[in-house]
Amino acid sequence: MTHVTASTLAPDLRPGGVAAWVRGRPVVVAVVAIVIMVISVVLGVGLGSVQIGPTETVGVILWRTLGLRAGLDWAPATEAIIWDLRLPRVLTSMVIGAGLAVAGATFQGLLRNPLADPYVLGTASGAALGAAVAVLIPIQIAFLQFGLLHGLAFAGALLAAYVVFRLGGSGGPGGLTRLLLTGYAVGSVLAALLTMAMYVSGADLRQIFSFLLGGLAGASWPRLAIAAPLIVGACTLMILRSPVLDGLLLGDQAAGHLGIDVRRERGILLALASLATAAGVAISGLIGFVGLVVPHFVRLVVGPAARRVLPISAILGAALLTAADLVARLVGDVPVGVVMALLGAPFFLFLLHRTRSSYEL
């Protein structure tokens, strides 16, 4: 996409080796990621405690989306399992995986910090506190299955990010460190309040705890319909802004000379990343790992240019969360975060170890 092709630069200077070959071909990497994603999706819809054959699966999807019967027949329960349970769950995991991965890549690039993840601006604690408050107050309102818990989690995440940005986002020299530390401090206050809420929650503790673990068991069409447009929209805008993210790599001053309104662009990107995170957290709780590790994995393969890292992270994040959720379902609904960390972290360590060139953000 963005690399200078061999036709304009002396081809003999191009480094050899598999890693360099792959790195110079982000489109190939994207295609491989898409294949992995499609496989995860197909398996995710087809596999589960009830085995459903691929023909029936495709038949149900065609019937419900296009109204094509195609001469096939199936039990009503089959249709319900595919259409009402598995498909929304798989689509939700794709959207949330993509959203967290793109948000993580954006935060890492923007804050120049390899340890940044989507929750770095206090969104996690804010969302969890919102959810805990919703659990504790004895009011139940729901709109299209989007209940008080989801609403307050969403609001809490956005509010926390807003407060952190207002308190610590003044920019200037050392501004990034200030923003990170502000995120940590605000997050600590919110986490303390959360602990307090959990302490007094009594029988409701389990519900708060399951939000903290995160998971996709609550996925449904109405919830997806609310979260997906926010996440997909925010991710698209972040991907379209990735050249700005690259320009900011040179530092605020140099980026300004390249015509970038540094303060404004940083604010917009932080807002978009926080929005994608908050929408995901609202319907699936705190899912870790994807947002931190997927962007790093992608950088190891295609290099640090945001224009390549962001879109490929989206695809791979979708694939990873879908695959992890499938495994989590098959082994008996363990939290998806546990699966990802147990299987993904060793693989990531292996890759980190194998990569010869020193790796920095």
Binding site: H3, V4, R112, L249, A254, H257, L258, G259, P304, E360
Partner: protein, 261 residues
């Protein structure tokens, strides 16, 4: 020389008019006037803290003066949109960060950001500009090297290549030869002269080395304590008395080219 000689009839391409800059109570630049005609080569010299970098930042539109104004092609620079400024003025700032892993050609390609239509990525013309800039600066052989592996001198050349890829009519540099050995200093100076003569690029550079400035720049503006105290050819601006009064050193320590002092 293709460039236009400065004269009263020529409308300056970039000009500071009575520019005063202050940070809080501290006045950094006082009533500075610096009209630069298209095709000129101007060196801005002066002791540390004289206000050179601040004046340069005001002239590139990133610092707003408390009074006076900077005009770009006759229009107040504050009214010109950022994209247009970036396509007209390329800047090699004193500080550019390269702590990240990226091959040189991708870094140089960042200079094309102001030209790229949104959302398209690099077009063939951008790729050609990147390759051309690297060749011009003489870093083609570094194209696929990781920027973090480069020496300070090589990094400086990469920064200059970013600015050259920007293909702007004006090139502004803040101490482009800092960190460079004498050989690279001369290389950079010759590159600037070449860009000026062959492409007609207007050059404005803050320099510390008076000898280099006098040798390679036909016009020198001397700043001291926020004021421009002299402006003209080296022979008129870098006399022994001024070197003693402005820089506080024995003029014998500064070896200027014959005819300059």
């Amino acid at each position: 020389m293709i460039g236009v000689e400065p004269g009263p009839a020529v409308e300056p391409i970039l000009a500071a008019h009575d520019v005063t800059i202050a940070y809080g109570e501290r006045r950094i630049v006082s009533m500075a006037n610096l009209p630069v005609a298209g095709g000129e080569r101007v060196a801005l010299v002066g002791p540390n803290g004289a206000g050179k970098s601040s004046l340069l930042r005001a002239m590139t539109g990133v610092l707003h003066p408390v009074s006076g104004e900077v005009r770009l092609c006759g229009a107040p620079i504050s009214t010109v949109d950022r994209g247009t400024v970036a396509r007209t003025i390329a800047v090699v700032p004193e500080l550019m960060q390269l702590p990240f892993q990226m091959p040189v050609h991708e870094v140089v390609a960042l200079g094309r950001l102001p030209h790229e239509p949104p959302f398209t990525g690099l077009r063939p013309i951008d790729r050609a500009a990147v390759a051309g800039a690297m060749e011009r600066v003489g870093i083609t052989q570094l194209a696929y090297r990781d920027v973090r592996e480069l020496s300070m001198g090589e990094r400086q050349l990469v920064f200059i290549a970013v600015a050259v890829a920007q293909a702007a009519a004006i090139l502004v540099l803040d101490e482009p030869t800092a960190h460079l050995d004498i050989r690279h200093q001369v290389d950079v100076m010759e590159l600037l002269v070449d860009l000026n003569r062959r492409d007609g690029t207007t050059i404005v550079a803050v320099l510390h080395d008076l000898a280099l400035a006098a040798h390679f720049f036909p016009r020198i503006a001397v700043m001291d304590e926020g004021r421009i105290v002299a402006d003209g050819p080296p022979a008129a601006t870098l006399g022994a008395d001024r070197i003693r009064s402005v820089f506080g050193v024995d003029p014998a320590l500064v070896r200027l080219p014959v005819g300059a002092a």
